[in-house]
Symmetry: D2
Subunit: 414 residues, 4 copies
C-alpha cells in the first residue's frame, strides 16, 4: 500500500461505517419507503453510495472486475447518463428487493474489494475518485436523515428516529448586523485539501459593502412574521414564490403545526413545542426571501457569505453533536453560527464560476448539469458531518425545497 492509499483507507472505513451507523436505528420497513420523488429510501442511499465506488473505482481499477449484481448498475445509478439508463427516481420506493440485508451485504462486498485494491496500491487518479466518493457519501449521510425525517413526518404516528438530548435552555442575543467593506475579493477554493469542482476556479470578484446578521433567524422572529400575516402579503414575496405558496397551501415552515394557538414542530426525536430561541429551519428559499423582505433586509449573496466566512473556523452544531436539530446561537462577538445548525439560503443562483468547466465523462455530471433553477446554500447544518464543510462549500436546492435543514441569515446593503 502506497502512503497516499493508506491515508485514504482509514477515512474510507470511518465514513462508510458512519453511514451504516445512521441507518442502524431504522427497521427494514423504515429503510424501504420513499415519501416523495425528491427523497429516496434509506436503503437506496446505502446502495447508491456503494454503487458509486463499484462503478467509478472498482470497475475502472480492479483487475478482472465483475459486477456484484448485474441489475444494480441500473437500479442504483442516480443520474449518470454516461453510465447508462437509470431506474425511475420517483419509483425508488417500489423496491422491496433487494432486501436491506442484501444491500448491507453489497456494502460489505464493495468495502472488501476497495480495501484489497487500496492495499495493492492504486494510481493517484483512482485515489482522487475514492476521496470524491467519500465526500459524496457524506452528502448522502445528510440526505438519509432529511429523507427519513420527511417520511416520518408523513406518518400520523409521528415516529422518532431516536430519542434526542434535551435542548439547552438558552436565551439568544438580539440580532446585530456586522458590516463589511467593499472590495475586490478572491472567491472559491484554492486548496490544499479536497473540494468539489463547483467550488473553483478561484477567481476575483468585486463585492460591494454589506452587512450580515450576527446569527441565523430564530423561530421566535419567524413566528412574528407568520403572525403579522406575512404569508398573506404578496408585496413581500417573489411572484413565483407567492404562487407556489398558494398552490401548496403553505402557511408556515414545514413540520410546524398550530393547534389552539400553540405551535409544535417535528424533530428527529419526534414532535416538540416550538422553541422561539432555536433557529428557524425547513423553510424554502421563497419563504426565506419573503421573511427577509418583511424584516427590512434581504438574503446574502454567496460572495458576501464567503467573504464573511473565509477566515472563520469550522465550528458549530454538526451531526457529531448528536443533537440532530438546530440549537440556539451561543453568545459571541462577531458572526456566529456560520457553520452548522442550518443551511443558509443565499440569493445567488447556482451558476458556474468564471472559467469553470465540468470534467469529461460521467463524473463531469456530478455538478455542472444542475447549474440551473437552483439557489446556493452555505454553511452546513446540524446533520452535516463536520469534515464535509468549508467556507467555499456550495450546496444547492430548488427554491421550493423545504425538507433540508435550511434556514435564514439576513443581510443588508451597507
Amino acid at each position: 500500500m502506497n502512503d497516499r492509499a493508506e491515508r485514504v483507507a482509514e477515512p474510507y472505513r470511518s465514513v462508510r461505517a458512519a453511514t451504516e451507523a445512521l441507518a442502524a436505528p431504522l427497521s427494514p420497513e423504515d429503510c424501504a419507503l420513499q415519501s416523495m420523488p425528491d427523497a429516496s429510501p434509506v436503503k437506496w442511499h446505502l446502495a447508491h453510495t456503494s454503487w458509486f465506488f463499484e462503478t467509478f473505482v472498482l470497475e475502472r481499477a480492479e483487475p478482472g472486475f465483475r459486477p456484484h449484481h448485474p441489475a444494480f448498475r441500473f437500479l442504483f445509478n442516480s443520474y449518470y447518463q454516461s453510465v447508462g439508463p437509470q431506474y425511475s427516481r420517483p419509483d425508488r420506493g417500489l423496491l422491496s428487493r433487494p432486501a436491506l440485508a442484501e444491500v448491507l451485504d453489497y456494502r460489505a462486498a464493495v468495502d472488501e474489494r476497495v480495501a484489497v485494491l487500496l492495499a495493492r496500491g492504486v494510481a493517484d487518479e483512482t485515489l482522487a475518485v475514492v476521496e470524491l466518493g467519500l465526500h459524496h457519501e457524506q452528502q448522502h449521510q445528510e440526505l438519509i436523515l432529511t429523507d427519513v425525517k420527511h417520511l416520518f413526518g408523513a406518518n400520523p404516528l409521528r415516529p422518532a428516529y431516536r430519542a434526542l438530548p434535551a435542548p439547552p435552555r438558552t436565551e439568544v442575543a438580539p440580532l446585530r448586523f456586522v458590516a463589511f467593506d467593499e472590495g475586490l475579493c478572491e472567491l472559491g477554493h484554492a486548496g490544499p485539501g479536497f473540494a468539489f469542482d463547483n467550488e473553483g476556479p478561484r477567481h476575483p470578484a468585486f463585492v460591494p459593502p454589506f452587512a450580515l446578521a450576527s446569527r441565523a433567524a430564530t423561530n421566535g422572529e419567524y413566528l412574528a412574521f407568520v403572525l403579522d400575516g406575512g404569508y398573506e402579503r404578496p408585496e413581500l414575496w417573489l411572484s413565483d414564490g407567492f404562487a407556489w405558496k398558494e398552490a401548496e397551501g403553505v402557511r408556515a415552515p414545514l413540520y410546524w403545526e398550530e393547534r389552539d394557538g400553540e405551535w409544535t414542530t417535528l424533530t428527529l426525536g419526534g414532535p416538540r413545542p416550538l422553541r422561539p430561541e432555536e433557529p428557524v429551519v425547513h423553510v424554502s428559499f421563497y419563504e426565506a426571501a419573503a421573511y427577509a423582505a418583511w424584516a427590512d433586509a434581504r438574503l446574502p449573496t454567496e460572495a458576501e457569505w464567503e467573504v464573511a466566512a473565509a477566515s472563520a473556523p469550522v465550528e458549530g452544531n454538526f451531526v457529531e453533536s448528536g443533537r440532530l436539530h438546530p440549537a440556539p446561537a451561543p453568545a459571541e462577538p462577531g458572526l456566529g453560527q456560520l457553520f452548522g445548525d442550518v443551511w443558509e439560503w443565499t440569493r445567488s443562483d447556482y451558476a458556474p464560476y468564471p472559467g469553470y468547466a465540468p470534467g469529461a465523462g460521467a463524473l463531469g455530471e456530478y455538478n455542472g448539469k444542475f447549474m440551473c433553477n437552483q439557489r446556493v446554500l452555505r454553511g452546513g447544518s446540524c446533520v452535516s458531518p463536520r469534515s464535509h464543510l468549508r467556507a467555499t462549500y456550495r450546496n444547492f436546492f430548488p427554491p421550493t425545497a423545504r425538507w433540508q435543514f435550511s434556514g435564514v441569515r439576513l443581510a443588508r446593503d451597507a
Copy 2:
C-alpha cells in the same frame, strides 16, 4: 357459546389464518410498499381487515370496549365516512410504522377478543357482521395477491412471490358457442347462505336469446388480435378506451413483454414464456371489449352470465389449487371455466338491482356508493377462495383496471 356463534368461530379462525398464510412468504419490506394508489400494502390489508372486526364487531358488542391503538381507527379505515376521516389512500405506502410485527400483534389481539366475544354468545345481528367480515377478508386475500404481484411487476428484479408448480401441458379445445333461449328469468341471490347486499333483491328480468363461449379466451387467441393490429384500430374500441390506450401507451395485456418476437408474461412465480393455451388475463374492460369486437362477438351481460351459471357447480382453479395462475380449460361439454381462472368482464354497468337500497349506517357504504363508473365481473379467479364465490356474486372494477386476474368470455346474440 350459542350454536350459531360456534358455527362462526371455526370459519373465523380459518379465514383469518388463511390471510396470514398468504403474507407468510413476504418480507416486512414486501408488505410495506404500495405500487399505485389502487393497490395497498399487504400490511395495510392485514391491518384493515382487523380494523373491520374491531370497529364493526368489538366496538359495538364488546363490553367496556377500548381501541387497540387510538390512531388505528383513522389509519386503517378504508372508505367509511360514517366512521370518520380516513388516512389518504395513495399514501398507504408511507407507513413504515406500525411495523409488520405490530400489525400481526394487532391481528392476534383482535382475534383473541373476538373469540372471547363469540364464546360468551352474541346477538344474531353481531354474528351477521362477523360473517360479513369474513367474506370481506376473503376479498382482501385476493387483493393481497394482486397487489403484491403489481408491486413485484414494478421491480426490475422481477421477484417471485413463491415458486409455482409447473403448468400442465394441455391443448385447449376450439371455442364453441352455447346458445340459450330468451326468457323471463329470476336473477340475484335468494338464499340460503351468505350474499352481499348488492346481489339482491332477487328480481325478474327478461333476457333475450344469446350464446356464450364455451371457455375463456386464451393467450393464443388474444395474441392473434394483438398481431392483427388490434390495438391500432379505433373502429374496434370504445371511444374512451381508445383514448385511454393512447394516453397510457398500452399495447398488450399488463405484464406481457415482447423481445425479438418472443412474448413473456409475469406470474406470481416470476416471468415465464407466454403459453397460448392459458386464458388471457390482466386485461381491462376496454381491451376485453375491443377483443370481442375483433372476434365478431361481444361481452356478455351479467344477466346472461348468471342465467348460464345458475345451475353450474362452483368448481375450477381457485386459490386452493396453489397454481396462482389461470390454467388451460379442461375439455368438457357445455360451458367450462365459469368459476375460477379469470374474472370475466361483462358489459354491464355496476348498478343497483330493482328494489335495492343500501342499509343505514357505515356498513351501508359497503357497496351502494360505488355503483357508478364500474363494470361487473363474474365467476372468480385463480386467486379467489372457493368458498367466496357463487353464481350471483358481483365483482366490479373501473373499465381501466388491469391488475386483477381479469379475462374475457365472449358472447353473441343468438
Copy 3:
C-alpha cells in the same frame, strides 16, 4: 326532384336557417371562443354541421365532388376516425381563421350544392343521410346555446345572449308521485319516423312497479337540500360524486351564486335572482343522485321514464318558445313537464339495447363507441327543438356534466 327528396329539401332549408338564426345575435368574437374542452366555439358548430353534409352526402353522391376547402376535412371532423385524423378538440378555440364570414360562406356553398343534388333526385340511402344530418344539426343547435352560455358564464361582465321575456309568475303545485304497475314492456323505437340507431332495436324488458314525480324538482326544493348541508353529507353521495365535488369545489348548481344570503343564477338573458318555482337546472348526475337520496327517492331508470312517457304528447317549453330557460310546471293532472324545460337524468348507464350493433363505416361511429361512462337523460330541454324529441330519444352525458340544461325528476319504488 323525386317526391322524397322534395320532402327533405324543405326541412333542410328550415333546419339550416334555424342554426344561423341562433348565431345571429353573436359577434365574430363570441363565435370564435371556447370556454372548456367539452364546449366548442359557435363557429365550429356552424362549420362542423356543414362538414357533415359535405362529407357524408356530397362526397358520396355529388358527381365530380371537390372539397370546399382541403383543410376543412381535418379541421371540422369531430370524432370520425374512419374519415381521418381530427384537429384537437381542446384547441378548437385557437382558430381565428377561417373567419366567421368564411364559415357562413361555407354553409351557403354546401347548402347550394345539397339543393342541386336534391333537385336532381338522389338515392334513398342518401336521403336517409340527409335526414340524419338534420337531426345531427339540431343537436348542435342545442349545443350552440349551452356552449355560448358557458362562455358568457366565464366572463365577469356576464353578457346576455339576448333579452329574454319576463318569466311567468306562477306557483307550482306540490310534488306528487304517480304510480305505475310492473310489466313486461316494449321499449325503443319502432317507427315510423326518424330515430337514431341507439333507440333500437325495440325489445321487451321487464319493468318492476315504480312511481314518478309529477314534475321536475324546483330551485326551491333543491335550495332546501343545499341549505340542509346536502353538499357536505357524504352518505347522500356516490363515492365518485363526492370526490368530484370536493376536487372541483362544487357547492351548488352551475351558475348559482350566493351573496349575503341572496341567490342568483345565470340565464341566456343574463344574471337573475333565483326563482324557487322554476325547475332546477345545470346539475350533474352526481348532484341529481345526491338530491334524490336526500329527498328519500332515487332517479328513474330510462325504462321507467320511457314507459311513463310512451303515450304522452311532445308538448312543453322548447326552443321555439323563445324563453331559453326552464319555466315553472303548469298545473295539470298526471305527469307534467316530461318534454322540454330540463333534460332529466336517469340512473341508467348509456348501454346498447339488446341486439344493437353500430353500422359499418364512419356513421357507425355516431353513437355506439360512446356507450361507456355516460348516463342517459330523457325528455329534452328549453333549448331543444320540438321536432327533435320523442319518447324513445336517448341523450347521454358523463356524470360530471353540468353545462347542459339538465335537471331532476324523482322516482321511487312502488
Copy 4:
C-alpha cells in the same frame, strides 16, 4: 402645458398609434384568442396598456377621476397585487366582450383624457409614470407580434400576419470570436434618459477575460447541431433542460418542421423554407445552452454582453424595418448584430443588481418580484422598437420560453 409635458405628449401619441397600427392587419377574431397561458390576446394587450395609463396616471392625477368601466380595473390588471385582484391569466382568451371595438373606444377615451391632463400641465412624478407607461407599451408591442405568431402557429391553415418583403440573399461571414480583456467595469444604467429600475444602480463588477462571437448563430449552424443528434445527447444539456425536452417532445426550434429532409419555418408572413444564413430564432435557454456546449463554447454572461455592447450604436434590424424576421448578419468588422434580429440568451440569472430595491407601491411590482427562475436576454429583436433598446436593457424569460424572438450568441473563456 409645461415644457416637459409637451415633450411627452408627442411620444405618447406616436407610441399609442404604433400599437394600434400593429393590430390593424388583424380581425376581431384574431385579436380575441389566446394560444397558451404565457401569451395574451391582442385585444387584451390593447386594453391592458390603456389600463396602465388609466390606473397609474389618470386615477392619480386627474381631478374627479371616474373609471372608464368599473370592471376593467379587474379585467385588465396583469399582475399588480397592490391594485387589487386580477382576472385569471390563462382565461384571457375567454373574453369575447368587451368587443375589439369597445377596447379601441377605451383606448381613445384614455388618450383623450391623458392629452387633456398633459395640456393642463402635470407634476414631474406623473410625467415619469407616463414615460414608464410608454416603454411598458413598447414591451407589449413586441408581445402582440410574438403572441399572434404563436396563435397562427397553432392553426393548421398557417395564416400570415401580413405579407413580408422577400428576405435578402446574403451569405454570412464565418463566425469569429472577438476577445476582451478582464477588468473592473461599471455596469448598469447611469442616465441620462429613461431606463427601467432593474437596469440600476450602476455598479462595479469584475469581468474576467472573454471572447464573444462576431454574430448570432445561424440556422445553418444550428441545423448541423440538430443533424448531429444534439437533441439526443444528454451530455450537452443541463439536467432540467434534457428533462424538459423529453417531456415536451422538442426536437428542433419552435416553428421548425421537417418533411422528407426539407426544413421549413414559420414567419409572420407565413411558412417558408429554412434559410441557413438567417439567425436561428425561437430557441429556449436550454436549447441555446446545449447548442453552445456542442459548439465548444458557452453562453455569455450579461456582464460580458454589456461590456461588449457599451459603446456600440443601437443599430440593426428592428420592428421599423418591416421585416418582422431576423436577417442575415451584414459583413462588418468587430461584433455585429448586437442589437435587433434576435434576443440573445445569456447564462445570467435575472437577479437584482447590488443596491437594487424595488420601489414602494404598485409600480414597485414592475420588475423586482420576477427576479427568480428567469434568464436575462440582451440586445432586442426584429420586432422590438428601436427607441426601446439600449446596452443596459435587461429582458428576461424562463429557461423554457421559445415563443419570443430568442437566439444565440456564443461566448468563450479567453
